[in-house]
Each structure stands twice: as structure tokens, then as C-alpha cells.
């Protein structure tokens, strides 16, 4: 009984937290007139205050149809986001995983200095690096290309830091046994390191997916060609006449992130816990 009361008490804040999603679903089912009535004061500068209905007065799927059939721009941006995110994650797999393995399992001079530099760079926000990134990309003629977004993200330090923690957790005895059995460094990395550090790798990829799926600053800064823009820049270009489409597109953007999150939820928790443990 006590647990039920506690559950009910916790359900209310949970519903409160989910209210934006509920609003989003309700808005996607409203027609243009109802949306104008509810959002008019904000989007058109009219008098009064914004109102909202938990359930649409005149529910319709018109917005879904319009987004699916009459808005090719949305799909261009959707696939741009897929391309950017996939590229970044692939780059991090190729670059970040070996880097984390090297830092975790090898001893070499200035190792601590490199690690400290990784952590330091991880702490620096994009706004600080924006100018230097721009100059470098310009020098490499990577401005206004997807490579200009993917390459800097592929060498991001945060997944290295996250995976480093998992790799260091592998017992040395396991690695020693492999060596005695005649395994080389590559064999040990692919056969011992990757399977045992899979939780860290997945959690790093899930976190990075969520980050790069919603990327805004970098595309806005480095991409002038609108055909290269990701989905995160679609919503700011939505007007009052297409408010319904904005709700549907938000839901559509939410679906992959939600699926990735649910699929990697277990590893994500491990990764977050791992990142939180002090060395």
C-alpha cells in the first residue's frame, strides 16, 4: 500500500516531465485553425496568451500527410542528419576506440600529459573552439561540406574518455594469459579488448548519437548550403502556416533518438556510472 502511494506520488512529476511529448502529439493532430487559435499570440504577434488543449478539438492526420507527401525538404534534412550522425559515430569507432585502448593499456612517455590534454579539450565548449575550427576547416577547404562537421566530431575526446574507463577495467591477468597463448596486440585488441569493453563503446556511441542528432551550432556555422543542413535546422524555418508540420517533424525526429536510447539504455547507464567513478 505504501508502495502504491509512493508510485502515485511519483507518477505526477513523471507526467509533468512527459508533458512536452504529450503536447507535441496533441499539436500534431490539430488542424491549422486550432493551432492558430492556440499559438496565434506567439507566432503571429496577436494579443492574448497561448492556450493549449491536451486533446485536439478537431483531430486530423492532415499534418502527417503533408509532411509525408508535400514536404520533400524535411526528408532531405532527415537524411542529412542520418549521414552526419552515422559519419561521426563511424569516425569515433575508427579513431576513438583504438585511442582509448592505447591510453588504457599501454605505457609510453608523456602518457599522463596526453590524457590531461584529452580531458582539458573535452571540457572546452564549442563556442570557444568555433573560430579556430572555422579557420582550420577553411584552410582545409572543408567549409560548407559534411566532412567539415564529421571530421572534428570523429576526433572528439569525450568518447575516448568514456571508453578509456571501460578498457582500464579489464584485468591485466586476462591480457597476460592471451599473450602467453601467443596472441599479438591486434588479436588481444579485437578478441579481448573490444568484447570486454563493448559496454563502454556502446554507451559512448549512444551518448554521441543523442548529441550529434541534435547538432545545431556546427551546421549553422559551417554550412551555408541549405541542402547540407540537418534536421535540427528544419524547425527554426517553420512559419505559422506550417505549425502543424513542425509538430509532426519534431515527433519524427524524436523517433530515432528514442529507439537508440531504448536499445542502448543498459550500456548508457553503465557508461554514465563509469564516467562518474573517480580514478
Amino acid at each position: 500500500m505504501k508502495q502504491k502511494i509512493t508510485g502515485l506520488l511519483l507518477l505526477m512529476p513523471a507526467m509533468l516531465c512527459c508533458s512536452p511529448i504529450i503536447f507535441l502529439i496533441a499539436g500534431s493532430l490539430m488542424d491549422a485553425g486550432e493551432l492558430r487559435t492556440c499559438l496565434g499570440p506567439v507566432l503571429t504577434g496577436g494579443e492574448g496568451y497561448v492556450s493549449w488543449h491536451m486533446l485536439p478539438v478537431f483531430p486530423t492526420l492532415q499534418n502527417y500527410v503533408e509532411l509525408s507527401l508535400d514536404t520533400p525538404q524535411f526528408f532531405v534534412m532527415f537524411w542529412n542528419s542520418v549521414k552526419l550522425t552515422a559519419g561521426v559515430l563511424l569516425g569515433q569507432m575508427v579513431v576513438g576506440v583504438p585511442a582509448a585502448w592505447g591510453l588504457a593499456r599501454f605505457s609510453f612517455p608523456l602518457k599522463k600529459v596526453f590524457y590531461t590534454l584529452y580531458v582539458l579539450l573535452m571540457m572546452m565548449p564549442f563556442q570557444v573552439r568555433m573560430l579556430s575550427d572555422y579557420l582550420v576547416l577553411d584552410g582545409l577547404h572543408l567549409l560548407d561540406t559534411h566532412a567539415g562537421i564529421i571530421l572534428p566530431a570523429a576526433f572528439s575526446t569525450f568518447p575516448v574518455f568514456l571508453m578509456y574507463r571501460f578498457f582500464t577495467g579489464i584485468p591485466e591477468a586476462v591480457l597476460e594469459a592471451a599473450r602467453i597463448d601467443g596472441a599479438g596486440h591486434v588479436r588481444i585488441f579485437f578478441s579481448i579488448g573490444l568484447p570486454l569493453g563493448a559496454g563502454g563503446i556502446v554507451s559512448a556511441l549512444v551518448l554521441d548519437f543523442l548529441e550529434y542528432w541534435n547538432l545545431i551550432e556546427q551546421p549553422l556555422t559551417f554550412l551555408k548550403d541549405k541542402t547540407l543542413w540537418p534536421l535540427s535546422l528544419f524547425l527554426p524555418n517553420i512559419s505559422m502556416q506550417k505549425a502543424g508540420i513542425a509538430f509532426v517533424s519534431s515527433l519524427a525526429a524524436l523517433v530515432p533518438a528514442m529507439l537508440i536510447f531504448l536499445g542502448g539504455q543498459e550500456y548508457l547507464e553503465q557508461g554514465i556510472a563509469s564516467a562518474a567513478v573517480k580514478e
Binding site: 508535400d70 526528408f75 548550403d225 541549405k226 530515432p256 529507439l259 531504448l262
Partner: protein, 651 residues
């Protein structure tokens, strides 16, 4: 769980891929496909093309009198004929019948014209007689009026004289003898005048009888054919008759003059005693001016009544008499009974006047005798009334006489006015009568028709072409009657042909006299280098204009359907676009030019509106003011486009 999520993610991505394809397909369907063209230099060529029928420049109508029977037709429409060639033939049998009929009609018309002429002359004579009778009636009325007024005046004066004698002799001893003398003298005068009036009437009747006998004698002579009497003898007879009538009139006038003179002399002595009412003269002024002198005699008996009245009356009467007698001398002899009736009727007013005079004199005589008898009776009985009482009776008698005089004056004026109006009516102008002239014209027309018929018969009924030309219309059929108008219409070959086409007012702006024109007809070689002869307001349709082009000889025949083409080139314009690119809104022209814009879907083409001013245009090109530079102008679109519409170039 992880696999399930991965599967769902894969499914979601597949779904998005499918919708990507669908949305692009839908976009490709809805976007407008356009054709573009850049503005370029060029000339605006205005071509005017219109079709019409070739017509001859000059036509000649061949016609014959209407109603002829067509025996044979030798030509047909569109056939070339030469001058003198027989066109058709008329049935001569029917022609001869018509000639005979025309001649009969001419004879009948002559007779009718003669009758009408005679009737008009007879009517003129009747009008003259009526006018003369009206004049006689007027004179008679004047005479009667004067007589009645004079008699009333005389009686009034007699009463006054009687009063004066009584007043002057009232105190004297021999007053009774004086009165007796006056009364006896008056009786003698009245007796004398009465006898004169009787003698006058007898003489008048005698003269009328003589006139009747003379008229009967003339009739007898004309009937027996013994009209060999010389003109001088007849003139002598007429002169004798006129003299007799003059005597009648003079005597009548003399009797009236005596009566009026007596009244006038007495009136001169009594003018101070009685002022005649001036109002009686006023009605006379409304009568005819030429009769005013005569009319004055009725209103002013004291002013030369003995001369003024008889002389005009005599003059008029003499003229009338001459007219009446003239009938007997100049006109052919008439029926004796009618002649006698006419003469007696014409002179009836004179007899009536004489009767009235006799009656008046008789009445005056009886009144005088009565006064004398009354006086003698009073003297014999010794019971002579008191002088004062006698005086009162006479004064009462004077008032009665004065009233009678005024009545007579009014009655005379009324009868005179009525007679004057009758005279005016008789002299009223008659409307013109052109019957004789019309008969003459009708006869000339019939003669002309007869001449034509005879001429046609002389040609054996053959009608020939007067010119070399083309038969353009046939209004006759074999066996039918010829129409009232053109039988055969010929186009004059020597005058050539022309083509007349109709163009709109808009088209007429680009065509003018002297412009080069081409004419072509189906199956014929196109005629180049011709010139527009005229551009005029349309005869059939006021909204259209007629364009005429003269054709060379022996090219197109009349009646052919052909097309005229003209062309006018403008100066070179720097900016010309296809006219399809022009759009119009509220009377303003604009074009859509192609613009590129960057969007999520890449570089997109959109339509941008640009207002322009059209300098000139024809069916294919429009010249614009200014320049559009290197812009691509949308000239065609498979969908309706507007400002900012996304478009796709047609491959």
C-alpha cells in the same frame, strides 16, 4: 530488447526512405514546367489577312419592260459575252398583244383627258356664275337695306313735319286749312311714286320676256342649223338687250334715287334734330373694301345718297348683266327651258326689288290717305281734339318711327353683312388642279413604253449585250415574266475587277492606301505587288472597314472568293518577347522572369513578376520598353504560376 529496437529503427528508416521518394514524386508532379526565352531585338510585323469576293469595277444592267414573257435564254451566270451577242429572247406574240393593249390605253387616256378638260371648264363657268350671283345678292341686299332705311327715315321725317306744322299753326285761325293742304300734297306725292313703281316693274318684266324670247330664238337657230346669222347681227341683238337692261337698271335706280333724294333733302334740314347712331356704321367697316362705298349708302343716307349708292350698284349690276348676257352669245345654245329658267332666276332679284318698292310706295300712300281721312273726319265731326292732345299723339308717333328707323338700319346692316360673306365665299380661291398636266405626263410615259415595245418587236424580241463582259446575275427564267428592273447584270470587262474585304478597326491601323498587298484564290496563282486602293468605312457593317484592291485584267473573275494579305514592318525594337509571355492584370502588362534561389532542395527556379510597358505587339511578338537584360522570360507554363512560384524548366 536491443534487437527489437534495432529492428524498429531499421523499419523507421525504411519508412522514411519510402516517404522521401513519395514526396519527391509528388513535388515533381505539382511543380510547374515552364519554357523560357531571352528577350531579343526584332521587328513587329503586322500582317492583315481578310477574305472577300471579287467584284467588277463597273456593272451594266440590261433590262426590258416588265411583264414580257421570256422565250429563250442564251447565256448563264459566269459566261463571257461580247457586245451585240443575244442574251435572251422575248415572246413576240405576247409582245404584239401588249402593243395593241398600249395603244388602246392611249386612246382611252385621250378620251378621259378630254372629258376631264371639259369638266374643268364647266366647273370654272359654274364658279363664275356663283360669284356673280353672290355679287347680285350683295347688291340686292344693299338696295333693300337702303330702301327700308330710307322709308323709315321718310316716315320719321313726315311725322316730324306733321308735328312742326301743328306746333307752328296751333295759335293761328287757318291752322286747319294748312294741315289739310299738307296732307293733300303728301297724298298726291305718294300716289305719283306708287304709279312710277308699278310702271317700273311692268317695264322690267317686259325686258326679261324679251331676253327669254331672244334666248329661245338662238336655240331654235342652233337646232335648225340655220346659224348663218352674221356676227354683227348677233352683236346688235346683244347690244339691244344690254341697252334694255341698262334702262331697267337706270329706272330702278332713278326710283330709288327719288325716294332717297326726298329723304336726303329733308334730312339735311333736320340733321340738327337727329343724330344718326354712329354704331351703325361700324359693322360696315368689316365688309369688303370695294363694297364700302356702297355700304355707306345704308348708314349715311344724308351724304350723297342719290349718287353714291346707284353708281356702284349700277356698275356691278352692269358687269353682272354683261356676264349673264355673255352666256347667251358665246356659249353654245342650251336647252330652251333651262335658258328661260336661268334668265328668270338671274333677274328674279330685280323683280323682287321692284315688288318691294311697289309695296313700300303703296303702304306710304295708304298711310298718307289714312292721315288725310282721319283729319277730314275729325274736322267734319266738329269734335276736334284738343291741340295739346293732338300734339302728344304725334310725338308718340315720332318715337315709334324713330324706333322703326333704327330697326330698319340694323336689319339692313345684318343682311348686307351676310351677303358680303357669301360673296367672299364665292370668291374664295380654289385649290390648284393639275389633272390635265398629270394626264399629259401619263400619256408621255405610255407613249414611251409603246415606243420601247415597238422597238423590241422590231428586234424580233431579241435582247443583246451592250458591252463585252461577264454575266454576273440572271434575274429571268425561261417561260416566266421579265421582272420590274434588271433582267441581266453584266460586268464590264474593260473596267476590270476589284476585291473588297472587310477588316476590323484594330486591323485597319496597319493598312493604308498604297500599301503593298497580295491576293490569292484557291486554284489560282498568288498575285503579288498589288496596292491597296482604298480603306473606307464599311458599307455592310459599321464596325468594319472596307479595303479595296484593284486587280489586274484577266486575273480573277468576278464572284471568286479570294484573300487579301498586307504586311507592315515596324522599326527594330531592342526588347521583344513572345506575346505569350505577356500577362495582363488591371490593364497593366507584366512578364514572369526566371530567378534562381537556394533552398534545402538545392538551387530552385522561381517565377518573378516584372511589370513592363508594351510599345507594340502583333500575334506573335511584343516589343517592350527598356531592357530585360539577360533574364530568361517565361513564355509558357503547364500550370498557373504566380509571383514566387517554383518552376522547372521544360526539357
Amino acid at each position: 530488447m536491443r534487437k527489437k529496437m534495432a529492428g524498429m529503427l531499421a523499419g523507421f528508416l525504411a519508412l522514411m526512405l519510402a516517404f522521401t521518394l513519395l514526396s519527391r514524386a509528388a513535388d515533381a508532379v505539382t511543380i510547374a514546367r515552364v519554357s523560357v526565352q531571352r528577350a531579343q531585338q526584332g521587328r513587329i510585323v503586322h500582317r492583315v489577312s481578310a477574305s472577300g469576293t471579287v467584284t467588277p469595277n463597273r456593272e451594266q444592267a440590261v433590262s426590258v419592260l416588265a411583264g414580257q414573257t421570256v422565250k429563250t435564254i442564251f447565256v448563264e451566270e459566269g459566261q463571257q459575252v461580247s457586245a451585240g451577242e443575244v442574251l435572251f429572247c422575248i415572246d413576240t406574240g405576247n409582245l404584239q398583244e401588249q402593243i395593241l393593249e398600249k395603244k388602246r390605253e392611249l386612246q382611252i387616256a385621250d378620251l378621259q383627258a378630254k372629258d376631264r378638260k371639259s369638266g374643268i371648264e364647266a366647273q370654272a363657268q359654274k364658279d363664275a356664275i356663283n360669284k356673280n350671283r353672290a355679287a347680285e345678292d350683295y347688291n340686292a341686299a344693299a338696295g333693300r337695306g337702303n330702301t327700308a332705311v330710307g322709308r323709315a327715315w321718310q316716315e320719321l321725317q313726315a311725322a316730324r313735319k306733321k308735328l312742326k306744322l301743328l306746333e307752328s299753326g296751333a295759335g293761328s285761325a287757318d291752322a286747319g286749312d294748312s294741315v289739310l293742304g299738307v296732307l293733300q300734297e303728301a297724298c298726291r306725292e305718294k300716289q305719283l311714286e306708287y304709279e312710277q313703281a308699278l310702271a317700273h316693274k311692268k317695264e322690267l318684266e317686259k325686258l326679261i320676256d324679251e331676253e327669254v324670247e331672244r334666248a329661245l330664238g338662238q336655240y331654235g337657230e342652233s337646232v335648225s342649223g340655220q346659224s348663218g346669222e352674221s356676227a354683227s347681227a348677233r352683236a346688235d341683238e346683244n347690244a339691244r338687250t344690254e341697252t334694255a337692261m341698262l334702262v331697267i337698271r337706270e329706272r330702278a335706280a332713278h326710283l330709288l334715287a327719288i325716294e332717297t333724294e326726298t329723304a336726303s333733302a329733308e334730312a339735311q334740314t333736320e340733321t340738327t334734330e337727329l343724330q344718326l347712331p354712329e354704331t351703325l356704321a361700324a359693322p360696315e367697316q368689316t365688309q369688303q373694301p370695294q363694297e364700302s362705298e356702297t355700304a355707306n349708302t345704308a348708314t349715311e343716307p344724308e351724304a350723297e345718297s342719290s349718287e353714291a349708292m346707284p353708281e356702284p350698284a349700277q356698275t356691278e349690276a352692269q358687269a353682272d348683266q354683261e356676264l349673264i348676257l355673255g352666256d347667251g352669245t358665246e356659249a353654245p345654245a342650251e336647252d330652251p327651258y333651262l335658258a328661260e329658267q336661268r334668265i328668270r332666276l338671274e333677274n328674279q332679284p330685280l323683280l323682287e326689288e321692284a315688288d318691294r318698292l311697289i309695296l313700300a310706295k303703296k303702304q306710304e300712300k295708304e298711310e298718307a290717305d289714312a292721315a288725310l281721312s282721319e283729319y277730314l273726319a275729325a274736322s267734319a265731326s266738329g269734335a276736334q281734339a284738343d291741340a295739346q292732345e293732338m300734339l302728344g299723339q304725334i310725338e308718340a308717333e315720332i318715337r315709334v318711327k324713330e324706333q322703326a328707323y333704327e330697326d330698319a338700319l340694323t336689319a339692313a346692316n345684318d343682311s348686307l353683312r351676310a351677303a358680303g360673306r357669301a360673296l367672299e365665299d364665292a370668291g374664295a380661291p380654289k385649290g390648284s388642279d393639275s389633272t390635265v398636266e398629270i394626264d399629259e405626263l401619263t400619256r408621255e410615259q405610255q407613249e414611251l413604253q409603246l415606243e420601247k415595245l415597238e422597238a423590241l418587236l422590231g428586234e424580233n424580241g431579241e435582247v443583246r449585250s451592250p458591252i463585252d463582259g461577264l454575266v454576273t446575275k440572271l434575274n429571268i427564267s425561261t417561260g416566266e415574266r421579265t421582272p420590274d428592273g434588271t433582267a441581266v447584270l453584266l460586268s464590264d470587262k474593260a473596267a476590270g475587277n476589284k476585291i473588297v474585304v472587310q477588316v476590323t478597326e484594330e486591323q485597319s491601323r496597319y493598312i493604308a492606301h498604297g500599301d503593298e498587298a497580295g491576293v490569292y484564290a484557291e486554284g489560282k496563282e498568288k498575285l503579288q505587288g498589288l496596292a491597296v486602293d482604298s480603306v473606307r468605312a464599311g458599307t455592310e457593317d459599321a464596325a468594319m472597314l472596307d479595303v479595296t484592291v484593284q486587280l489586274p485584267a484577266d486575273t480573277l473573275e468576278a464572284g471568286m472568293y479570294a484573300t487579301v494579305e498586307t504586311e507592315r514592318r515596324s522599326d527594330i525594337y531592342d526588347c521583344c518577347v513572345p506575346v505569350q509571355a505577356l500577362n495582363e492584370e488591371s490593364g497593366k502588362y507584366f512578364v514572369y522572369i526566371l530567378a534562381e534561389s537556394s533552398s534545402v532542395l538545392g538551387t530552385e527556379l522561381t517565377a518573378q513578376r516584372k511589370d513592363v510597358t508594351v510599345l507594340d505587339k502583333n500575334e506573335s511578338l511584343a516589343a517592350l520598353e527598356g531592357s530585360l537584360g539577360d533574364s530568361r522570360v517565361i513564355v509558357a507554363s503547364d500550370r498557373l504560376i504566380s509571383q514566387g512560384s517554383r518552376v522547372r524548366l521544360e526539357e
